[in-house]
């Protein structure tokens, strides 16, 4: 018979223990950590210490000289990246960043405060790289590196989406996202990583995209969307693949090709390019805009980024247009130039339709589709019927990377306002450079992490709920493929009546195409306002 608990065993403790942060340990509860990287994926990427292991095991099977490896790795990073040395030294623990992290706001776990996340690494740095720490130890905020520290790093560096919101509030400009990036880089030296990052990175390295989709399947999928567009407005689009001599190479995250609702955004791209007669091609080899190398280590990021440019060179295009992706733009904007650039074999992007030269991409030769479209609209080159989005009441989530890494605030709003009649922004402290993360970025968008994702996404969802209650908003737009994948479950949990879309899906709905038949539905097959009966009859 099952043991019946005594009454006193049923009493639960309301109050958590009050201990100093160095004396608490993470508890690996399901939902708060991601599955570890598989050996086969680590092998493909040439990462150290490939093995099967679990964070729940006592023994993480670290290499025998793991401490040495970490210290060596730290020394290397400190020498290579001056920013890291500065971030390690200048934090005055003022706390301005502490309540700015969505994971802290949502979880209430103090080690999700950016300042403490940084301390996880800083404490070890102090102990071994500063005199004060060597002599005074704990009093100077220094601590010994041991396996518990590594476990704690794994737990908390994979509870940071590298969104950089905290850095906006730090008076010294300390970027905790960069600290996390270094933390993950060090962990990778020991073979401590997560499979949701390693798997996509390995697939991308071998097959060109995160899911490991072969070229023929990739082409097939896009042709499938061609049929879907034809069903909506009778227009037959003929995209080309791996076509040498095209003017533009278009690269978007593979999520747009394989997962709803990104697929509708992809239809928007196809429709737009067809309508303006852009001379462009898709590549079935550079079939991924995302770069999970950014979440692994610098080497992997560089490798995956190089592939896009190698393909542009092979095809002989003039420049690249990139789709609605988040971290792809962080890589392009902030790292590409010193990593694989400058891309001198390409030309400075110039819109063939408007003649606008995109000097901002002078060196990377890659422009964002939203700036490209905004320029088309501004020059009156698109015929738009925003009333086709009248069944939608839209708000906009500034995806972290385009927002904070590119300062990309106005272009998306400009496009949305031209293709929709009903738009409301969320309150000022939740948008633009202060935007709240979706809670699932930087490779944490895996299903086993769902509970933590709901915590991290709480502040964003809370702001959406506000505009939903106040203005009846029913559509959350964004320009990131991870957002499009993770915001639907987030909404489902917190604000169930709100759906998610990419900006170019809205463009696809509104664009009036030469020779099209009258539309009765939007790209999803939902009836347009006033067409509810028509589409029923169509069935």
């Amino acid at each position: 018979m099952a043991k019946v608990p005594k009454p006193n065993e049923l009493v639960f403790d309301y109050n958590p223990p009050q201990k100093w942060w160095m004396d608490t340990k993470p508890e690996f509860r399901p939902g708060t950590w991601c599955y570890p990287g598989k050996a086969k994926n680590a092998e493909v990427l040439g990462l150290p210490n490939p093995r099967e292991w679990s964070p729940l095991d006592e023994d993480w099977k670290l290499p025998s000289n793991w401490k040495e490896i970490i210290f060596e790795g730290m020394r290397d990073c400190l020498n290579k990246y001056r920013s890291l040395r500065v971030f390690m030294d200048i934090c005055v623990r003022c706390g301005a960043c502490s309540d700015k992290c969505h994971f802290y706001i949502g979880s209430g776990d103090p080690k999700n405060m950016p300042v403490l996340r940084g301390e996880l690494l800083r404490s070890v740095y102090r102990k071994d790289f500063t005199l004060a720490g060597k002599i005074m130890g704990r009093i100077a905020g220094a601590r010994e590196l041991n396996e518990e520290v590594v476990k704690e790093w794994f737990y908390y560096f994979f509870q940071c989406t590298e969104c950089r919101r905290c850095s906006v509030f730090c008076p010294y400009g300390i970027d905790t996202a960069e600290i996390t990036i270094m933390g993950r880089e060090l962990l990778n030296l020991l073979g401590v990583n997560i499979d949701w990052v390693l798997g996509p990175a390995a697939n991308c390295y071998l097959n060109g995209n995160h899911l490991g989709i072969q070229p023929h399947a990739f082409k097939d999928m896009i042709e499938f969307f061609v049929e879907e567009i034809e069903a909506v407005n009778g227009i037959r689009i003929e995209p080309t693949f791996n076509r040498k001599g095209a003017e533009v190479l278009f690269i978007t995250p593979s999520g747009d090709v394989f997962a709803d609702p990104g697929t509708y955004t992809l239809m928007g791209y196809l429709m737009l390019f067809h309508e303006i007669g852009l001379d462009y091609t898709w590549s079935t080899y550079a079939s991924e805009g995302g770069n999970f190398g950014l979440f692994t280590n610098h080497d992997t990021m560089k490798k995956l980024n190089a592939k896009m440019y190698a393909e542009a060179e092979r095809l002989g295009v003039k420049y690249i247009i990139g789709g609605e992706c988040g971290h792809m733009w962080r890589v392009i904007q902030q790292y590409m130039d010193t990593m694989n650039g400058p891309a001198d074999f390409l030309e400075v992007p110039r819109s063939p339709i408007t003649g606008t030269v995109f000097d901002n991409a002078k060196s990377t030769k890659m422009i964002h589709i939203v700036e490209f479209t905004a320029d088309l609209i501004r020059n009156g080159k698109l015929k738009l019927d925003p009333s086709r989005n009248d069944h939608l009441r839209v708000t906009y989530h500034d995806s972290c990377n385009p927002a904070r890494a590119m300062g990309f605030f106005d272009e998306p709003r400009y496009v949305i306002k031209n293709v929709c009649n009903n738009f409301w922004d969320m309150p000022p402290n939740c948008i633009r450079e202060q935007t709240f993360c979706c809670g699932s970025g930087s490779g944490l968008n895996t299903d086993e992490f769902m509970e933590m994702r709901m915590r991290g996404g709480l502040p964003r969802a809370n702001a959406v709920k506000h505009v939903h209650d106040k203005h009846g908003v029913n559509m959350l737009s964004c320009i990131c493929a991870i957002d499009r994948a993770v915001l639907p479950p987030l909404m489902d949990y917190w604000v169930p009546d709100v759906d998610v879309t990419g900006v170019h899906e809205l463009v696809g709905n509104a664009i009036v195409m030469e020779g099209e038949t009258e539309r009765t539905t939007d790209l999803r097959g939902n009836p347009l306002e006033g067409m509810e009966d028509m589409s029923d009859e169509d069935l």
């Binding site: 049923l10 639960f12 309301y14 109050n15 958590p16 009050q18 508890e27 509860r29 939902g31 708060t32 502490s98 309540d99 802290y104 706001i105 949502g106 979880s107 209430g108 776990d109 103090p110 405060m113 899911l211 989709i213 399947a217 097939d220 999928m221 499938f224 394989f258 997962a259 709803d260 697929t263 309150p427 402290n429 939740c430 299903d447 086993e448 769902m450 509970e451 709901m454 915590r455 709480l458 502040p459 809370n462 702001a463 506000h466 994948a485 479950p489 489902d492 949990y493 917190w494 069935l539």
Partner: protein, 184 residues
Amino acid sequence: MGLEQFLAGDKPALARAWFDLILGTYPPETSALLQKDKNQFANPVGYTLSQSLSGIIDEMLGGFDHEKVLPLVDQVVRVRAIQDFSPAQAVGFVFLLKKIVRNRAEEGIREKRVSPNEVLAFESKIDQLALMAFNVYTGCREKLYELRVNEVKNRTFRLLQRASLIAEIPEQDTQLKNGKDSIT
């Protein structure tokens, strides 16, 4: 004088005391944050908590309309259901109200303004609140697992559809759907 009336004398203090006890279920740094910032967007958990608790208190001392109470309980439990709490801790905040009401009622009983039976009756209302919280909690956890399943399905759905590995019943097949053509 009824207990409700007696307690209604200082409604805000009642809500505040409950709020404070709930704050104690968070680590000290966090409870400081939850009460410090009054901005609805910078401090969504603290804000939601304090708004919902005073709403619940209003209802407890007023009509106790279930339709009004449920969304308020939902707001609190939906947050606690995904935070680092055991199920008991997540819904147990409701019982903290008993502690407060007993403390306050004591004086009323002494002064014979409140009868002990009224306290018992009020505690039954708190029990109902707890059951509501339990329902919401279970719903939230089920939702969490449903989200996981849906995500895994959606990840490959388009691909399977394209590869014709899924034999979908087309919408037009209403006959079949309505069971008119049943196999007999």
